[in-house]
């Protein structure tokens, strides 16, 4: 019992460290119902946007800096405790750099020591580059939609078959690569793309098969892994494309259950 309570205390302390860090950085908490209209919450971002939308947008100073905590529900009986951090509205390069800083700071609290930060690996994809590549391949709308659907569903065998038909040399872009070979292959196809993340201090790999499961991502998409964990500690990205400032921004979700397993070193893989 005592061991279990100690574990709970360590977990809660890490969680409150994250919240304190966010409050100190001028983020505001926003509460959304875990169940509404007989539907369970599956995503904090959509729930946050629904609340923000209820305010007159001319009263809002963009980007809004928001965080929300609570369970997210998956298929069946599964659920996970999560902490969601968002910059809602038009963002700048400065906001993107801050996202990386906040991601680093809120993930490191789950590690035994800040030195273990180098164990964390950030896998980064980019929907904008993917759309530019598909346009360059002159794929029609149906083929583009199919490729995206296969990527979102994780059907890499189908993705490889489609890419192999149009541009076999682009196949390595759809598996994890370090920056040098990735950008060499990408820049051979698109005009001078620069790595948008310069400040991450841990390991970083690039992979266009990383598109996220959510259809609202339009630019950068990323997952943060602790190598011995089977699930990502954080998932996030950039969304936009709409005229309204509400429907653009940056953000990520920390999986507090994974954080707890990292803290407890309850490793499976």
């Amino acid at each position: 019992m005592n061991y279990w309570l100690d574990d709970n205390r360590r977990h809660y302390r890490a969680f409150t460290d994250c919240v304190t860090l966010l409050l100190d950085r001028d983020f505001s908490p926003l509460f959304t119902p875990p169940v509404a209209e007989q539907r369970f919450r599956t995503d904090h971002t959509e729930a946050i946007l629904a609340v923000v939308e209820s305010f007159p947008t001319d009263e809002i100073r963009w980007p809004l800096r928001i965080f929300s905590a609570g369970p997210l529900f998956g298929p069946g009986q599964q659920w996970a405790e999560a902490l969601d951090i968002e910059w809602i509205g038009p963002t700048t390069d400065h906001d993107q750099s801050e996202l990386i800083e906040v991601l680093s700071a809120t993930s490191v609290v789950w590690l035994e020591s800040p030195r273990a930060r180098s164990d964390l690996t950030l896998i980064v994809g980019h929907l904008g580059w993917l759309h530019a590549l598909m346009a360059g391949w002159q794929l029609d709308e149906v083929a583009q939609r199919d490729l995206l659907q296969h990527l979102r569903a994780g059907r890499l065998s189908q993705v490889q078959a489609l890419v192999n038909e149009v541009d076999p040399g682009a196949l390595p872009l759809f598996s994890p690569q370090s920056a040098q070979p990735f950008f060499a292959a990408l820049n051979a196809r698109l005009a001078s793309v620069q790595p948008p993340i310069q400040t991450w201090s841990g390991r970083m790999l690039w992979d266009l098969s990383m598109v996220g499961r959510r259809s609202y991502y339009t630019g950068l998409v990323f997952a943060l892994y602790e190598p011995r964990m089977g699930q990502p500690l954080a998932l996030g990205g950039e969304f936009g494309g709409g005229q309204s400032p509400l429907h653009q921004g940056l953000g990520f979700t920390l999986d507090l259950g994974v954080g707890r397993r990292i803290l407890g070193r309850n490793l499976y893989v």
Partner: protein
């Protein structure tokens, strides 16, 4: 030394996968009554589990890889795994069957253990469907008056015939697939090596089958 583990669905998938496993140069562990064989210097680890549990085991990282029928993957959409290879083994098909070989008219009652794919199939045809969820012995449902139609996986169709049922439509053909945990795929070099070995074995097996 291998460090990663492959979870394999019991039954037809397990039987069919043995050929690919040995063609990959790995000794086949004799299952006996054991369900878990840790990795060794000669082969990856090996877990035998129920097919519907395989995506969950892989998503949670309990196994790095999984070998499971496409029928199971289609039913469990939304599980966070990556599908790497069509292993082209353990072929079967998902069918709609009934006592009479007649397409249903109007709202239809269907007994199945695949509610999601059944709903999708009838939704695409704008036909209302009432699902009777069963976990097995579906062939009995029309005779017991539970539902006039069933949706189930068949290999040869023999079991259906023995129960005086007719195939009305094929929803989709299915083969075994290799799936992987996304974290393992993106972070562990061994994962790429195992996938490459299995891909080579599949290619070789397809070539042998073409020759014969």
């Amino acid at each position: 030394m291998y460090e990663l583990t492959i979870a394999i669905g019991k039954g037809r998938v397990l039987q069919a996968f043995e050929t690919l496993w040995t063609a990959s140069g790995w000794p086949w562990p004799v299952p006996e009554r054991r369900l878990w064989f840790p990795p060794t210097t000669a082969r990856p680890g090996f877990i035998i589990a129920r097919g519907p549990d395989i995506p969950f085991l892989v998503e949670r990282g309990a196994a790095a890889f999984g070998v499971v029928g496409e029928d199971v993957l289609r039913e469990q959409q939304g599980v966070d795994v990556l599908e790497l290879l069509d292993l082209a083994c353990a072929p079967c098909r998902m069918v709609l069957a009934a006592s009479q070989p007649r397409w249903p008219v109007g709202p239809v009652q269907v007994a199945t253990k695949y509610p999601r794919v059944t709903r999708q199939f009838f939704a695409q045809r704008s036909q209302p469907v009432d699902i009777v969820s069963l976990s097995g012995s579906l062939e009995m449902a029309p005779h017991l008056g539970l539902a006039p139609y069933i949706v189930d996986v068949v290999q040869t169709g023999r079991t259906l015939r023995e129960h005086h049922l007719h195939e009305v439509a094929t929803l989709f053909p299915s083969t075994a697939r290799l799936i992987v945990n996304p974290a393992v795929w993106r972070l562990r070099a061994e994962a790429q090596a195992i996938q490459a070995q299995l891909a080579k074995a599949v290619k070789h097996q397809n070539y042998v089958e073409e020759l014969s």
